[in-house]
């Protein structure tokens, strides 16, 4: 394939970011306003702003929040359901829960309303044998009815289809001839989980966003083609890999969490380039914070995400924990007199007080500004900010008087509370899963991440922080460099002892063949194709599974046994003997490795020959209860291997990094700032 630039595009709530990595190693970036009505427009104008000649582009990869937002805002397609007789209400009844542990007022609307859920005679037993054959004429009648009711997409969801998909397949065949748009989802194709609600929701989510995603990528692809781009657009999936736009639509659900996944993938690549084995990714933007954990350069992938109340999305996704704490999160006092921060956000309008657009409620951004960590004159897209003193007064009036604190101390308290919530999110993905934060490096990005990272690391006893060269563009970078990825799951659900090595290897070999074919269909140059294998296992009698990585297809019954015993002891600190082990599923991830990204291109020129040459000013900044005069460095000018100590601020176009007193910083050859955190 000819050399050409690779492009990553990330659409955030406020800005659409673009990163162009030229074959020559040069970097170009662009930031244009997001166009929420038709996001494709924003992408096209970002490409224009970046001066990209589309004829010379090798690939365009794109992270999208289109599907997530469609579900959350319920701007979804009209979907019909055909299901097993007696079970059309499974999707409405759920698992018998309520939104919160306390309080009995709440509501839930299924993605498919009841009048669009139809039943047909058919029934499989749990062992996959047929109890009632599929009534094909009933299937045809149901399809006719759903067409007449104006459905655009169709879900076929039968009990025990994970064990025997024959009826689902046949019904889908019948539908294919009668459903011209082709938006047909059979439950077993999306998830092979043996829980009818969870599998059914996954299928409904897929169908509900499929037409929307199809139209969106269609518009974008044809817009690009009209401008001379002849290749396939790549779309980022929640599993952290990308896939050709033409292929993604079939499994539209895989684009849920596409946005956060790109950041984690970029962080993992940066960690690999820097030689870090274990990182915690910390992506703090305007409204939310996403944290993830990467070991051995590979992000953890989970199949247990819940998008919102009663909306499990059990397909492989980069394991990211999100909380409502971002720069725009609002600080408030609860009825017990305790200071709280978020999850409500001031958003882009009116935004923080500091934006001067009519915001009156204190936010994290305002607190950072009062403490001297942000410069009001350098806020992106802000024209006439109020003064630091005016904001401090507002903080004192709104919160400080109740707490008995002045404006500065109130700002400091907001930061501590916000940091504590973010620390809680990091504990949930590290400590709560048996990891010790002391073994990790905190990789901080997003527009606001570098403001808080060093303090957070100290709170969590994380010994090191890495702030990449372009914190505010890391998500777009993640799209640009993402590998291709396809996941395959085969459910076996049988006692391990009843299986033999030949069977296990045959399953994995089949998955490999399917993986190679899928990557070939993506039609993008890859350097190599790799496979990762894993087994979902449990003790006989358990319903939850433990996923164990397998080194190769040579895995046999004995080695699976041993690997499970070790993983179980690590997680639960107990050893169980004499209880049989079940193999629930074998999984393969097929990864099309793309050329390593030229990360050095991000580093900036390091134009100053000495540290002092990068010093632009000093300013009082509040640390641990007092003001300290802190030097301010221009990030792009910092020379390679420059070393300095906090207190200090490091400024750049897309972020500000805060270095707490007593912590030593080095700028490495890739342009990263590496902070050794004093205990």
């Amino acid at each position: 394939m000819t050399e050409g630039s690779i492009i990553g595009v990330d659409i955030g709530g406020t800005f659409t970011d673009l990163v162009v990595l030229d074959a020559s190693g040069a970097l170009r970036i662009a930031k244009v306003p997001t166009t929420p009505e038709n996001r494709a427009e924003g992408v096209l104008s970002a490409l224009e702003a970046g001066g990209v000649a589309l004829g010379e582009v090798a690939s365009i990869s794109h992270g999208t929040t289109a599907t997530t937002n469609a579900i959350i805002e319920r701007k979804i397609a009209r979907v019909g359901l055909i299901t097993t007789q007696g079970f059309r209400d499974v999707l409405e009844l759920g698992r018998r829960t309520r939104p919160k542990p306390y309080g009995l007022i709440g509501s839930f609307e299924p993605l498919i309303p009841r009048e669009l859920r139809l039943e047909v005679p058919e029934r499989m037993a749990a062992d996959g044998s047929v109890i009632t054959p599929l009534d094909e004429s009933a299937v045809r009648a149901a399809i006719d009815r759903l067409r007449a009711l104006g459905c655009e997409a169709l879900v076929i969801h039968f009990l025990h289809s994970y064990r025997n998909p024959m009826h689902e397949r046949r019904a889908a065949e019948i539908a294919a001839a009668m459903w011209p748009e082709g938006y047909i989802t059979a439950g077993h194709e999306i998830s092979s989980e043996f829980r009818e609600y969870e599998r059914g929701v996954a299928a409904s989510v897929n169908a509900a966003v499929q037409p929307i995603l199809d139209r969106y990528v269609g518009r974008l692809q044809s817009g690009l083609e009209a401008r001379g781009f002849a290749r396939d657009l790549l779309i980022m999936q929640g599993n952290g890999g990308s896939i050709a736009a033409r292929q993604v639509v079939r499994h539209a659900i895989n684009t849920v969490m596409s946005g956060p996944a790109s950041g984690v993938m970029a962080a993992a690549a940066i960690a690999r380039a820097t030689g870090l084995e274990r990182i915690i990714t910390y992506d703090m933007g305007g409204t939310s914070t996403d944290v993830g954990l990467v070991e051995g350069g590979v992000p953890a992938v989970s199949t247990e995400l819940e998008l919102e109340y009663a909306m499990p999305v059990h397909v492989p996704m980069v394991d990211v924990h999100s909380i409502g704490a971002g720069g725009g999160s609002i600080a408030w006092i609860d009825r017990a007199g305790l200071l709280r921060v978020g999850p409500e956000s001031a958003g882009a309008m009116p935004g923080p007080i500091a934006y001067g657009k009519g915001g009156t409620r204190p936010t994290i951004t305002d607190a950072n500004l009062v403490l001297g960590r942000l410069d009001p004159a350098r806020l992106l897209a802000v024209k006439a900010p109020p003064s630091r003193e005016a904001i401090a007064e507002r903080l004192e009036a709104a919160l400080g008087r109740t707490l008995g604190l002045d404006g500065d101390a109130t700002a400091s308290a907001i930061i501590r509370i916000a940091n504590d919530r973010m620390a809680g999110a990091i504990r949930m993905i590290s400590l709560a899963r048996g990891h010790d934060p002391r073994d990790f490096t905190l990789l901080a990005f997003g527009g606001a991440g570098p403001l808080h990272a060093v303090a957070l690391a100290r709170e969590l006893s994380i010994p090191r922080v890495l702030i990449p060269a372009r914190p505010g563009l890391t998500n777009a970078l993640g799209c640009a460099i993402a590998d291709l990825r396809h996941d395959f799951v085969t459910t076996l659900n049988a006692p391990l002892a009843s299986l033999d090595d030949t069977r296990l290897r045959a399953v994995l070999t089949e998955q490999i063949t399917a993986g190679r074919a899928a990557i070939a269909r993506d039609n993008v140059a890859v350097e190599s194709v790799e496979f990762r294998f894993a087994a979902d296992m449990q003790f006989d009698g358990q319903t939850h599974i433990l996923t164990v990585a397998l080194p190769s297809t040579e895995a046999g019954v004995d080695s699976l046994h041993a690997a499970f015993a070790i993983a179980y002891r690590e997680r639960f600190a107990v050893e169980l003997q004499g209880i049989g082990v079940n193999l629930v599923a074998l999984k393969t991830a097929a990864i099309g490795r793309r050329a390593a990204p030229p990360l050095h291109a991000l580093a900036g020129d390091g134009s100053a020959s000495t540290l002092d040459g990068a010093l632009v000013a000093t300013r009082p900044v509040w640390f641990d209860g007092g003001w300290r005069e802190a030097p301010i460095y221009e990030r792009t000018k910092l020379p390679v291997n420059a070393v300095f100590e906090g207190p200090a601020l490091v400024l750049q176009f897309d972020a500000t990094s805060v270095i707490e007193p007593g912590n030593r910083v080095r700028r490495d050859t890739l342009g990263n700032l590496i902070v050794e955190v004093a205990p």
Partner: protein, 578 residues
């Protein structure tokens, strides 16, 4: 550091809750019984060293255990001798701060610097604890010995080592004992996970600071609860709830709840409530108290939970009633059913005082159905639990949720596919129960209808449900929801239990079936004031019939659309005559 700033306080508060959340999570992931791993019938918390008062509880735990674990921890404290690091007490005695026998508590001392700092405790619902019926939900036991093995606080682990002799006694007295060791290890592992996290918290902030924070959080929770109570006008409010029967004598049991609000406090008096009953619908005092606590917490969910939350609530011991069970009264129905009736009596009273915060009664039954049998194909015995949800009550702003979980729990149902994989049963239907809502301006949510058929072998079924006699109450003019119905198909004969919602010893052969319909929630406000557009939508969805709409909501349809004039006339005339 002795001075406690609000920031440190908030950090320690969330730190304590995280300790509990992590215990909750570890317990579920490692457990074997679906009743814990899928339905989440468990709870974990931290309790005070001296008196067992609640310090923090996991956000994922069962609400009913909030109050009862304080009492069972206190019972351990009263009996414990020579407490050492690594000891874990086991206790399920209902009369010592318990619920029913299946709820087994583990209580572990936590030491800091050689001194007892707090107790970590959890409760897990065991799938069997011996007794006369598989699963423990006897519908007609008359003494606690029939209900299962009763354990006073004894050390199951001594200095970290499992006592094989006590274990052997336990395993010899319960059904399907084979897998219990895995659950026991999971329950203990959760406490160790908690100890590790609590140690880290104390290591970070210092024992004195954490202790000071615990005391301050307790004061603040009490203050916040009083602030909420102050919004209720001073006065005396009366509510009532009815239990179908005790399972032995087929007569209703009545709960009379009188709530007096004075200043920032609430006083609960249950005078007039039915006397102790012969069957297993008695409630031990720990459960009675806990039911009132969680009812109030449902009304004011924003108040955090610790011992201070309950300080403004004063409960007069209902001595001489079935809500104050003493040995050897049977109690298997108290945790799952009577507790919910107590909560409903509280809701019923407060709906008169602050309707804007209340809701009509929820389905209020856990729908416990246990099937103990033998699977000839796999040659193994099993105990299978089915729980079911029902409609929640309407409120001032919203219709009730359909198939909500029990008032006292947050447990999920086990998936049908999991049931059918494990047990020789076939579900023929699992559906929204049409027409079951209590009507109102905001109607109740819908109950569920399911039918399950035994495919192989034979089994014995027992069930303890409620609301078979009277449906969940409406509020502010709304109507009651539909009642529980049970239908048993035995060798072609169909019958309904004499006690409507309770039965046991039902012998099932392959081909026999049980059909259960669970209650809909009560309605809120005048049904004739319901927006006709919503009624049109309800009918389009098949939630109830056009005939229902005319009769119960005063709305008529013509060609699937609301007939505006016809409806207005019907509503006016309906009101004039009705």
């Amino acid at each position: 550091m002795s001075e406690l700033d609000p920031v440190t306080l908030a950090v320690i508060e969330s730190g304590l809750i995280q300790v509990c959340n992590e215990m909750d999570l570890a317990f579920v992931r490692a457990a074997f019984s679906p009743v814990i791993s899928e339905t989440l019938d468990r709870s974990d918390g931290i309790y005070a060293a001296g008196d067992g008062a609640l310090i923090a509880q996991g956000e994922l735990g069962l609400p009913i255990f909030v109050g009862t674990m304080q009492d069972s921890t206190a019972a351990v404290i009263a009996r414990a001798k020579e407490i050492r690091e690594g000891d874990i007490f086991i206790v399920n005695d209902p009369y010592m701060g318990g619920t029913h026998l299946m709820d087994v508590r583990f209580v572990m001392p936590y030491f800091h610097g050689g001194k007892l700092f707090a107790w970590l405790a959890n409760t897990g619902h065991w799938p069997d604890i011996g007794g006369m019926v598989p699963g423990g939900f006897s519908a007609n036991a008359t003494e606690v010995e029939q209900e299962g093995l009763r354990l006073p606080p004894v050390k199951l682990f001594k200095a970290g080592v499992l006592d094989e002799e006590i274990l052997a006694i336990i395993l010899s007295n319960i059904r399907i004992a084979g897998q219990r060791i895995g659950d026991i290890q999971a329950q203990a592992a959760a406490l160790h996970v908690g100890a590790r996290r609590l140690g880290a918290l104390i290591g970070r902030y210092g024992a004195a600071t954490v202790e000071a924070a615990i005391a301050e959080l307790r004061r603040r929770a009490a203050r916040q609860m009083r602030a909420c109570i102050t919004t209720i006008p001073d006065g005396i409010y009366r509510g009532r709830a009815i239990v179908d029967s005790d399972g032995v004598v087929n007569e209703p049991l009545v709960i009379e709840m009188t709530i007096t609000k004075r200043d920032g406090d609430l006083y609960f008096d249950m005078a007039g409530t039915s006397p102790p009953c012969q069957g297993p619908m008695n409630s031990v005092i720990a459960t009675t108290r806990s039911s009132i606590y969680l009812a109030i917490k449902h009304v004011f969910p924003e108040v955090p939970i610790n011992a201070g939350t309950f300080e403004p609530l004063h409960i007069k011991d209902p001595v001489g009633t079935f809500l104050y069970a003493e040995y050897p009264r049977p109690v298997s129905g108290c945790a799952a059913e009577v507790s919910q009736r107590i909560a409903e009596a509280v809701f019923d009273a407060l709906a008169l005082a602050i309707p804007e915060r209340l809701f009509a009664a929820p389905a209020g039954t856990s729908g416990n159905l246990a099937l103990g049998g033998h699977d000839p194909k796999r040659n193994r015995s099993y105990v299978m639990y089915v729980i079911s949800g029902g409609g929640y009550g309407g409120s001032m702003s919203l219709d009730g949720l359909s198939n909500g979980c029990s008032t006292i729990g947050i447990s999920k149902t086990t998936p049908i596919e999991v049931f059918e994989q494990r047990y020789p049963v076939l579900f023929e239907e699992y559906a929204l129960r049409e027409g079951s809502c209590g009507t109102g301006r905001q109607r109740g949510g819908f109950g569920v209808r399911y039918r399950l058929r035994l495919r192989e072998g034979s089994a014995r079924a027992s069930m303890v449900m409620d609301h078979g006699r009277v449906g969940p109450n409406g509020a502010a003019g709304g109507a009651t929801g539909a009642v529980t119905t049970i239908q048993i198909e035995q060798r072609g004969e169909v019958y309904r239990p004499a006690h409507l919602s309770k039965d046991q010893g039902i012998e099932l052969e392959a081909g026999d079936a049980i059909t259960v319909e669970t209650p809909g929630g009560g309605g809120f406000g005048d049904p004739f004031a319901r927006d006709p557009a919503l009624i049109e939508q309800d009918i389009r969805r098949g939630y109830y019939t056009p005939a229902d709409a005319a009769e119960r909501f005063g709305v008529v349809l013509a060609e699937d659309r609301v007939d505006v004039v016809g409806s207005a006339l019907l509503r006016r005339n309906g009101r004039a005559t009705g």
